[in-house]
Assembly symmetry: C3
Homo-oligomer: 202 residues x 3
């Protein structure tokens, strides 16, 4: 079980790193820039969470495997972007939704472990999931996509809230995590395939 | 007295949140983006201060009332922007100057409570007051307004310095805070009504 | 020796502050903005490192000399930009390379002092050296230069790795620092004079 969790976490890191590096490629970065953006996209959200809850040094720099995986994702895009760029968009979307769900749940749980309240834990889950993409867009001098479009951060927040609600209703931690991750994943995939957007004020 | 301080602090948070959300509206954000920008504008400065002085988790995530007020300000803009956008600019400017003064003084005092020196306390007061607006502009991919125009951050710094000078000269903490806040408020309002700007190098 | 180190560190801070303020000048900032960008460029990297390794309050706000030097650099640009702008580019490049080497080595060493592993120490050295310039570009709403062009961050990383390798091979800390700083400096100067760039993916 613990091994499965680490594998899932590293898999989510890899997916986010690849997406970050693809965005960096479109922004004209060199190979060092790709590695940095891969790292920031994959690990920036967790790093923000760790700084906010006081878990220093953050996991991203304490455990070299995360950085290694993120850099591997960036290097893969540098060498193989011809192939990575041809992966079907649906596959990337589903993998990204899985990473989002995983990060939202893992971020919420780590925040709870550090003794913060439920309000803060829901914020931390959302920041873990979308903080890296936000930093990536800031580095690329763009308004972060999560602020403008798509049920994306909303899905992360929903997953975090489902986890917290399930715990309150007496569910075990494992079932609560599965419910939260499942809720986030399904909401994100359905929203993406149906092009749901949050309302803009008129 | 303590109740009055909390009410003032929450009022300042609300004003900054509304201003942040109005900027987000102009940037084309959806409802989630408005809530995020409201939160960041209202609480980003205090969060930066808390991270820098080692007060983790920061107040903004430890006490749900601040986040709640910030989100309420964002939601108010989403639902009521027709009316909020028609509030007289002078009213918003005066409320904003009040928030600036309050945040500068509160930030300076919290930093002193955590035992940093006077130089750092003045920096922390200024960051508390203008850090949120700076982060807002970074998220909206703009050069932060406080770096380019207006006697704004300068007023926050002046208020912080007045507070520190008053304490050095033997004033009680309450009087020093009132002097600092009053100085910042008056300087900001006078500067705004007279269109004072800091010099640009030629 | 200790005095020499502090002098070198303050000199590096001054060079970076001047460069930051020159960039701010080109971005149309007022005098307050110049001081902020000078501070952020010179001390932002070290502040990020200190937050990540848990050294709070960061050096930049604990020791007023660093902030004082950074502000002095910003003020010098404001008053003397006619002359500063006419300094030969080669001189600025060499001074900047010296600052880069110094910050990379100092950042790596401080991280090691705080007990992080070698992977993290190399990251921290690089962040110390290029984090300030990255924040400067983010504040000026530009894609950070270090992500796009030049063997710059790469030189910082190389210096950090040389230091770590020398320590592993049994070198004393002083010799390791000298080797790391020398490696970074030479690589940066050679790269700049030969217009070396890292490859961009095609």
């Amino acid at each position: 079980m613990a091994v499965l969790l680490i594998v899932l976490d590293l898999a989510g890191t890899l997916v986010f790193a690849v997406e970050g590096a693809m965005a960096g490629l479109a922004g004209g970065l060199d190979v060092f820039g790709l590695l940095v953006v891969a790292f920031v996209t994959a690990l920036g959200g967790g790093t923000m969470r760790d700084l906010l809850i006081g878990a220093v040094p953050p996991n991203s720099i304490r455990d070299w495997r995360y950085g290694g995986i993120a850099f591997a994702g960036g290097a893969a895009v540098f060498f193989l972007h011809y192939f990575v760029g041809r992966l079907p968009g649906e596959l990337l979307m589903v993998l990204d939704a899985a990473g989002l769900a995983l990060f939202a749940v893992a971020g919420t749980e780590k925040a709870l472990d550090y003794g913060v309240g439920e309000f803060a834990a829901a914020l931390m889950g959302t920041i873990t999931a979308v903080g890296g993409g936000t930093l990536r867009d800031v580095l690329l001098a763009q308004i972060p996509l999560v602020l403008r479009a798509d049920v994306y951060a909303t899905a992360a927040l929903a997953g975090s809230l489902v986890l917290l609600a399930a715990r309150r209703l007496g569910s075990g931690p494992r079932a609560a995590a599965a419910l939260g991750a499942g809720g986030c994943f399904v909401l994100r995939v359905v929203a993406a395939t149906h092009h749901w957007n949050l309302p803009h004020a008129l």
